[in-house]
């Protein structure tokens, strides 16, 4: 369907199609470069870090330290949010509690260190810090609500 859309665009509006294709190219390059090391690290995590360790540090009794670790893991990573979904699924399989999964995804989307620097440049330090801080706090709240509502995770549905 996407191919069809691009085909139609190419026939009807060649100039726009060119712009779309160049955006796609730039984006693809950006993402394609960052993906291999991120997935290598994920593979290493999967193999070397035992389930008990993940459960201890990110599981139900991990408390505030678990939350901070989730934020740290996500902030240090790189790549668009959709890269985080398979990694979150891996962490979940290893015993991470739902709250920390939500915090991890929120931090991945909203608190990448290099992105915060870009944000500071364009919107100022107070804006960037306040937005990041509030977003992380709300991430914890969302995770807590979802645990309270007993939201379950059923992949593939």
């Amino acid at each position: 369907m996407l191919v069809l859309a691009y085909g139609l665009l190419g026939i009807l509006m060649p100039a726009q199609a060119l712009k779309a294709v160049s955006t796609v190219g730039r984006n693809f390059k950006e993402v394609a470069f960052i993906l291999p090391p991120v997935f290598v690290l994920m593979g290493l995590l999967d193999v070397w870090v035992p389930k008990e360790t993940v459960e201890l540090h990110l599981g139900h009794t991990s408390g505030l330290r678990g939350v901070l670790l989730s934020i740290l893991l996500a902030a240090a990573a790189a790549g668009p949010i959709y890269v985080a979904f398979p990694i979150a699924a891996t962490l979940l399989r290893k015993g991470t509690r739902l709250l920390n999964i939500v915090v991890f995804l929120t931090a991945w989307a909203a608190a990448h260190l290099p992105m915060i620097i870009v944000e500071m440049r364009f919107l100022g330090l107070p804006f960037a810090l306040l937005r990041t801080g509030l977003t992380l706090i709300m991430g914890v709240a969302i995770g807590a609500i979802m645990e309270r509502m007993a939201v379950t995770i059923e992949p593939g549905r």
Binding site: Y6, I34, V38, V47, V118, F127, L134, M138, R157
Partner: protein, 159 residues
């Protein structure tokens, strides 16, 4: 620059791992490769969709129109646009900057950036595949509401 750091971390990790167990390292690399290949199709789809969004909802258009909409309506529109579009960070922040300079309120700019990062309409099918539909609906729904709260608080504190 940051990409380089991640690469160094990955290479160092593989070397350390290889020293301790070749078997486990092979397994890790297989897992990584499989996940990467699984990623490829959704990634191409999403990148393709982003390309179309950039053409039909160009950043300049967004900046021009969200800048005008004053008050709660403008903020709500910004939140909706942020939720349904997927704009990469290196475009989004300059865009938000010009939005602000064009006269949009802090609240509007915050709503836009916050829903852009927290809510993923375009990525929802993929999130759903990895983590389930219930999870995806709850997370994105609550994130949208939170984004409005965050925008309000920021508007009050920063303007």
């Amino acid at each position: 620059m940051y990409t380089v750091i991640i690469y160094i971390a990955a290479v160092a990790g593989v070397i350390l791992s290889w020293r301790r167990s070749k078997e486990k390292t092979r397994k890790a690399l297989t897992i990584g490769r499989r996940s990467l290949l699984n990623m490829l199709a959704p990634m191409l789809t999403l990148v393709g969709i982003i390309g179309l969004i950039m053409v039909f909802l160009p950043p300049e258009w967004i900046a021009a129109h969200l800048g005008e909409g004053a008050g709660p309506i403008g903020t709500l529109t910004a939140a909706l646009v942020g939720a349904i579009t997927l704009i990469p960070g290196f475009v989004a922040y300059p865009l938000a900057g010009s939005l602000y300079r064009a006269g949009a309120s802090v609240m509007t700019v915050a709503a836009f950036i916050t829903t852009l990062t927290m809510v993923g309409f375009v990525t929802a099918p993929f999130e759903s595949k990895q983590l389930g539909r219930r999870f995806t609906l709850w997370r994105n729904g609550l994130s949208f509401l939170s984004a409005l709260v965050i925008a309000y608080v920021m508007g009050v504190l920063l303007s």
